[in-house]
């Protein structure tokens, strides 16, 4: 049965969408830009980063575009002073939470967190830096996990579960103590479920997951490979 056609408004413009699409999917399909960080085409959306928040008329609450399904007649605003303010705060909090020392990062110049900050004109943050003491897991023969640069977007968790089917990555603890862990909080190199495929590395938006042997600015991630793999395998998400 063909899916029901819905019509919604994005920034005032009338748009034809399909039932079951999220606001983000409908926006993308119609060339409307909404900033995202944890979203990666092909992976189950989770709404972790809060950057894709939008206004929906009729309510004061903000909605995550990546996880909110569209409804017929919905009117969505993607850009406003309030949204810019809130998105900026979300980004600034990511920067102060861990040690994102861009200058000495393998992903410097190709990092999605860094480029979003530039796009939003962030020249400083308003909060005090946390400077937490965090580890780097070098136990895997080919890859590195640097908790200092992790933004807990869970792309690695999702790509490993959704696409590779290995379920190596998980989140442990809560709030500011949350960490990415492999297997049952073992060193990555000791993981027996890891297939060494490297999809988590390619999906990671920052320098938190990287290949060994790269110096500053050298790591090139191929997130497009993840999305095209999903497309070719016809994985239902």
């Amino acid at each position: 049965m063909p899916k029901k056609k819905l019509s919604i408004r994005i920034d005032g413009e009338l748009i034809n969408a399909v039932e079951g699409q999220t606001i983000l999917q409908a926006a993308k399909a119609n060339g409307k830009y909404i900033p995202t960080l944890c979203d990666l085409e092909g992976l189950t959306p989770v709404g972790a980063c809060r950057l894709c928040i939008v206004e929906v008329s009729g309510t004061d609450r903000l909605f995550q575009a990546c996880t909110t399904p569209i409804q017929d007649g919905m009117s969505v605003i993607t850009t406003s002073a309030r949204l810019t303010h809130d998105r900026r705060i979300s980004l600034e909090l990511l920067f102060v939470e861990r040690n994102h020392v861009c200058a000495v990062c393998v992903s410097n110049g190709r990092c999605e967190l860094q480029s979003l900050a530039s796009a939003m004109g962030i020249s400083t943050v308003r909060f005090a830096y946390n400077y937490p003491k965090l580890g780097v897991d070098l136990s895997h023969p080919r890859f590195v996990l640097d908790h200092n640069r992790c933004i807990l977007c869970t792309r690695c968790v999702r790509v490993c579960a959704d696409l590779e089917g290995a379920h190596v990555w998980e989140l442990t603890s809560r709030g500011i103590h949350s960490r990415i862990v492999s297997d049952l909080n073992q060193r990555w190199g000791d993981s027996r479920s890891c297939t060494n495929c490297g999809k988590c590395v390619q999906a990671c938006p920052t320098g938190a997951l990287a290949e060994k042997g790269y110096a500053v600015e050298e790591m090139v991630k191929r997130t497009d490979n993840i999305s095209s793999l999903v497309e070719r395998r016809e994985v239902q998400v």
Binding site: C102, A103, V104, S118, S123, T124, V125, Y129
Partner: protein, 176 residues
């Protein structure tokens, strides 16, 4: 026309931001005609002068000496600019922040030294517990991130200020 008084200050940084400042090529000639560089590592002045129009500060605040310098600079400057990631975020100097100072000095000057294994105390300022950005100590009027900030951006900011324009946004910014 009265020349604009510009100063530069070097705290806990690598001097890369000062290199970038000098790297503006020919732009420095026209700029030099409009500004007086009154203090900084590039000139000879010993004392930070009164009534400076613009001061660019490179580096994080890492020692008690840095704090004193910065406070004096703030009192004597109309417009204070955090120049570069160390001044804006803490950056590389702040990578020591989760290590206690005693342990850090012991590791570098005793365990890590080939000879003269002693933590220096004479003539060196005491370190703060952490290296932190300028704005946590004084009011900062403008931030130019980057490691280093591009010469073009520094040139644009200074020449805009010389021409009496203080823009908050519009410059390309990038951490790292």
């Amino acid at each position: 026309m009265k020349k604009v008084k510009v100063a530069t200050v070097w705290l806990d940084g690598c001097s890369g931001c000062h290199m970038s400042l000098l790297d503006m090529d020919a732009a420095i000639i026209s700029l030099a005609q409009k500004i007086d560089l009154v203090y900084g590592p590039l000139v000879d002045a010993q004392e930070f002068p009164e009534d400076v129009d613009v001061t660019l500060v490179e580096g994080a605040v890492s020692s008690h000496d840095d704090v004193n310098k910065l406070q004096k600079v703030r009192q004597r400057t109309h417009l204070l600019i955090s120049l570069g990631d160390c001044a804006v975020t803490g950056n590389v100097p702040a990578m020591r922040n989760s290590i206690p100072v005693n342990k850090l000095l012991q590791r570098i000057y005793v365990e890590g030294a080939q000879e003269g294994k002693v933590v220096p105390t004479d003539g060196v300022p005491a370190l703060l517990k952490q290296a932190r950005p300028l704005r946590e100590f004084v009011k900062v009027d403008m931030c130019l991130p980057g490691c280093p900030p591009p010469a073009k951006t520094i040139a644009a900011v200074i020449s805009d200020l010389v021409d009496g324009k203080k823009r908050e946004a519009g410059y390309a910014v990038k951490f790292g």
